[in-house]
């Protein structure tokens, strides 16, 4: 669900600067005299500061305010990472600066001004670690129990707030490349050209014609399709044909057939085409009409073949594994209000088909 935004990925290379900086400062007496907690906090603040500064050029043309805030934030972190070795006042200021940065990001995400991506989320994780370390730097004179209790719960609370807010923001404001939770869409042009509309219709017609014999599941079995996992949570079933694994968008040889379970047997609803490798987008003759999607950060449970969403920090429940699927394109041969090439089959259409089959 959370990929690395293309305009953010270059910023990650700035972290390579940390190595020469470390080689330069590790011999300095001030650095050697500092506590390990201080050093770790300083490095983490330096890392997030550099990342913020590296994000400025890509944000400046369209989001000047965000770029200005990145500049202030990045410089603040750089100053604090140096001040940690020379001053006494840096600790409360760093606590405030880190908290304010995290909360500001959450505000931006919830308001929909920023789409959460992996670079932003990684920055928050680094800042949470730095905040935790800054909070652990002891102030011996003030060890009253409310302070100790606050020190124990503040970090988990902040981490929870961050995770939940990024989750909520991402789901409430999906951008053009996130059609639904857990899926990343192929980048395409916004409006289909007449040629693309024609090509999409042709693909639908060819798929409908090719799939006609498979209305009978016995024919699908004879052709090499095997029934996939079945879940009570989803009445759609994917039947896969391993012999078609390397085929690319051939209506006569789709990788999967998608059947709907109804009280009176299986109803063929469409086909699913899948590319051989993760990140390899397929040909989209219909442009935005035939947009491929790739499921990322899905927690797959081998016990009962069930799914859940990974958290923004890419953690799954115990026993589940995080998986990313190669890009896929569905072609629905029955009416789907979500679209004939939509990533999902509309539940209302499924219910109607089930009613129709039972009546």
């Amino acid at each position: 669900m959370y990929d690395v935004a293309s305009e953010h990925s270059a910023a990650l290379t700035v972290l390579l600067l940390l190595l020469p900086i470390w080689l330069a400062v590790r011999w300095l007496p001030r650095y050697q005299a500092a506590s390990l907690l201080t050093r770790w906090a300083a490095w983490l603040m330096l890392a997030t500061g550099l990342l913020h500064l590296a994000l400025i050029p890509t944000h400046l043309p369209a989001e000047a305010l965000t770029a200005l805030l990145f500049l202030i934030d990045g410089l603040g972190f750089l100053v604090l990472s140096v001040a940690a070795f020379f001053t006494r006042w840096w600790r409360p200021v760093a606590g405030f600066w880190l908290s304010a940065t995290i909360l500001a990001y959450l505000l931006w995400v919830i308001a929909g001004w920023e789409t959460p991506d992996q670079v932003g989320i990684a920055c928050k994780l680094i800042e949470l670690m730095a905040l935790g370390l800054v909070m652990r730097l002891k102030v011996h004179s003030r060890h009253t129990w409310p302070r100790r209790a606050w020190r124990a719960v503040a970090l988990p609370l902040m981490t929870s707030l961050t995770t939940i807010s990024v989750f909520a923001g991402g789901l409430a404001h999906p951008d053009a490349l996130h059609a639904h939770a857990g899926a990343v869409l192929q980048p395409v042009n916004f409006q289909a050209t007449p040629e693309q509309t024609h090509a999409a219709q042709q693909l639908l017609a060819e798929t409908r014609a090719a799939l006609a014999p498979y209305q009978d599941p016995a024919v699908a079995i004879a052709a090499g399709y095997q029934r996939g996992s079945q879940s009570d949570a989803d009445s759609l079933e994917h039947w896969s044909n391993k012999a078609n694994a390397g085929v690319i968008l051939d209506p006569a040889r789709p990788q999967d057939l998608v059947y709907l379970r109804t009280p009176h047997g299986l109803v063929l609803t469409g086909a699913m085409f899948q590319m051989p490798r993760i990140g390899q987008w397929g040909p989209d003759p219909g442009g935005p009409l035939t947009q491929w999607h790739q499921h990322e950060g899905i927690c797959f449970s081998p016990f009962g073949l069930e799914f859940a969403f990974a958290t923004p920090f890419w953690t799954c429940p115990l026993g589940s594994i995080s998986v990313t699927t190669p890009p896929m394109l569905h072609v629905w041969i029955v009416a789907n209000p979500a679209g004939q090439f939509a990533a999902d089959f509309d539940p209302r259409a499924a219910r109607q088909l089930q009613k129709g089959a039972s009546s």
């Binding site: 959370y2 992996q118 994780l125 988990p156 069930e306 799914f307 890419w314 115990l318 998986v323 990313t324």
Partner: protein, 128 residues
Amino acid sequence: MTERLEIASVLLKIQGTLFLIAGLTALPFGIVEPSMRLEGLMTILLAVALYVLSRGVRRNRRWAMRSTKIVELLSLLGSILLAILPIGAVRGPVPLLTNILLPAAVILLIGLRKRKDAQVGVGAVTAA
């Protein structure tokens, strides 16, 4: 020496919270997916265990150190194995930080503490 444990304790607390959220997130899926219910609850229990370990590590408890190493080693090995498989389990900086670097850092911090202890011990014997 105790500062290493202090840092490890902070990392464990963050890791515990991440697991807590993962467990809570799985519970709504558990309404229709029975195994997610169990996995969610197990994950919440793991999160509680990590909080307890975080406290134990900070207080330099031997049992906490040993248990943390086992948990983190299993977590790290599992993540590396999944990263090698072509299933896209570790894609991008966030899973790398959360699933590989975080447990590796905790193992190193606790492991280095022991090595430093041993060095101090050898130094003391030589001096004597």
